[in-house]
Assembly symmetry: C2
Homo-oligomer: 423 residues x 2
Amino acid sequence: MIRVGIIGVGTVGSHVVKILQENEDIITARSGKKIIPIIGVVKDTTKKRDVNLPLSSDVNDVLDNPEVDVVVELMGGVDEAYKIVTRALKNKKAVVTANKALLAYHRYELRDLAGDTPIGYEASVAGGIPIIKALREGLSANHIEAIKGIMNGTCNFILTKMMNEKAEFADVLREAQALGYAEADPTFDVGGFDAAHKLLILASIAYGIDVKPEEILIEGIEHINSEDIYFAKEFGYNIKLLTIAKKSGDQVELRVHPALVPITQMIAKVDGVMNGISVIGDRVGETMYYGPGAGGSATASAVVSDLIDIARHTQNSPMLGFIKPLEKSGLTLMNRDDICTQYYIRVTVEDKIGVLSKISEILGKHSISISSFLQKQDVKKEERAVLLFSTHTCKESNIQKALQELSQLEFVELKPAMIRIEA
Amino acid sequence: MIRVGIIGVGTVGSHVVKILQENEDIITARSGKKIIPIIGVVKDTTKKRDVNLPLSSDVNDVLDNPEVDVVVELMGGVDEAYKIVTRALKNKKAVVTANKALLAYHRYELRDLAGDTPIGYEASVAGGIPIIKALREGLSANHIEAIKGIMNGTCNFILTKMMNEKAEFADVLREAQALGYAEADPTFDVGGFDAAHKLLILASIAYGIDVKPEEILIEGIEHINSEDIYFAKEFGYNIKLLTIAKKSGDQVELRVHPALVPITQMIAKVDGVMNGISVIGDRVGETMYYGPGAGGSATASAVVSDLIDIARHTQNSPMLGFIKPLEKSGLTLMNRDDICTQYYIRVTVEDKIGVLSKISEILGKHSISISSFLQKQDVKKEERAVLLFSTHTCKESNIQKALQELSQLEFVELKPAMIRIEA
């Protein structure tokens, strides 16, 4: 028998209790043991909840409770959760957490502290999709060449709607908020920060690389407009918020940003609130994992799978994938200026003679070669033209310098915009 | 240190050796141990092979070798492989196998014999995609409602070409054979038998159901023609060879057949030689797994992941997913006559008055209600018409009776064809 204490009994926590109770038959058959939730901790015990579980408002009722074998941390946040998980591990209690922010900042400290005590965190990335297990165990024979993920359902919902209905960001965001797919303050999602937390967790498993969210390139989807959608459709792309980890020599690129993805790629077909993660291994080639990246029941499915693994004693698979550190790998984070990829650029200009030649000159000066070009009239202002370029592969620092110079040209009317292309 | 003996050093076996040798850095870091191939068994030791491994022609050099910890069985076939795996298990050697036919017939005997000795078989289904792990561990909290898979790359290559180029089966088959995607005798693949073996393995993990390939509905793709492709395109379907396991009450449907799948479904987007498996869990909803279902390197990636799991001692996850049998489940195989789904029917007739009314009468008599209808002239013979119907959900036995009656009508010129619709 495994006895579980749950800290944080909100949507996900209630579903964890429900699954353990309602799917007891299959869980017992698969784990060989009964897995029983015995106590939950909540801030307000008087609030009515649809859950059949004794509740307390004191974390010590879980952390110092000799009857609790596994602590499930679903409270969220970083500092307080870190204290609680640390105490649980010191008390030799296994931990299961869905807390991506906690892991984005403290995964290595927790791994070192845990030793042989299991920490499960399948629910922290892409909800119900078992991507942690796939990466840590299923693809363990491979050097991982790249991970490209759509791991934020809010952004994917908004971008899918923008693509399908040629709608503007602000309008779709309002709709997403009304539907409950986006928060009142949507920055954490649409700014790419949520996806960045998840990326760092996957990058640790793939590369053993220890960086914090502040160190990587993160751009959100707020600046994408209908001109970009137009260009994407015209040239056979979908626009997705991609989380990218990519090995280039001894360096690892880690970045989160909107990207133009050819519609022929499987990852480009992941629409709506769904998540999809494409992983390229040196031996297996590309595999992709698709499913619901959020939602109480799907996330709880991942939490319970970790509990079943712990009951089966299969958690010897090390928390971050490596039993022995990769001493010789020496992988370091690539400076964002050194990223090489293709780019799409949008420049809104006064519609007059000589503009295109001046812009081409600036791009050429920075060794940027144009791959395709499209000019259209600005729908909002007749005397303006919108110039849409895609480039061949070039260096991020060159693009940034060119954008800077373009923005200072007298006839450039709006700040030039750029979206990376991931072909 | 884990020492590995490989029985059958062909394409997959050579890649297993290569991965173990060339990716030793990452494998040692991830498993905590060196995993070393020490001997291979082949029929002909004089044949030149691109592999750095001592070879023998005597299986006893592996099976009775006290230095071998794990036996990797890659010889294929059923009877001989069963004897070898049985002997390995009796000698308490762990086994890793890619042999789907062996498991389709003997998975329960092997499980019972193995006890606590690990048997890994990730490579037996869908090559490099870690679908066994996903189903057995990642989704373990769920009652599995359905599995729908594209698990035969040969069929998917042929059907994709037929859809994209409106080509006929025989022509595309020849092309697939020339490219090495289809065997000289393609029956095992295009007849659905290969996919059926894989389906039974997944069904055991999902439902603990013990049936043999002969007991389930298996139909191949040989009879699909360009009229069917035309109808599918017209009504927004793709045609795929689907492997389906579906729980309906106390019964499990197990079937392999071509199916019309709405192009909006993720599984319908799996094209070419690629595999994809959609799994619907009662808690997580739909997740899908996509990747290369065959090929030496991808399949070897799965074999080596099993070896790493064994080195990590994580094989306590039981072979078929259940530590304790599901005593109360009492799930039985649904009789194929009781399957309920939608159907597409193609009837080629002499083009004359009264034909449609007679056909409608027969369908109505068997409680079959038409959902959409399309008539076109036969491109091969002007005086013939091809009638294409889709139906609302009805019972398989009724469809079979109706097809039987239709085939006996005087004006019906070819044997009526049927494809199931999986919406």
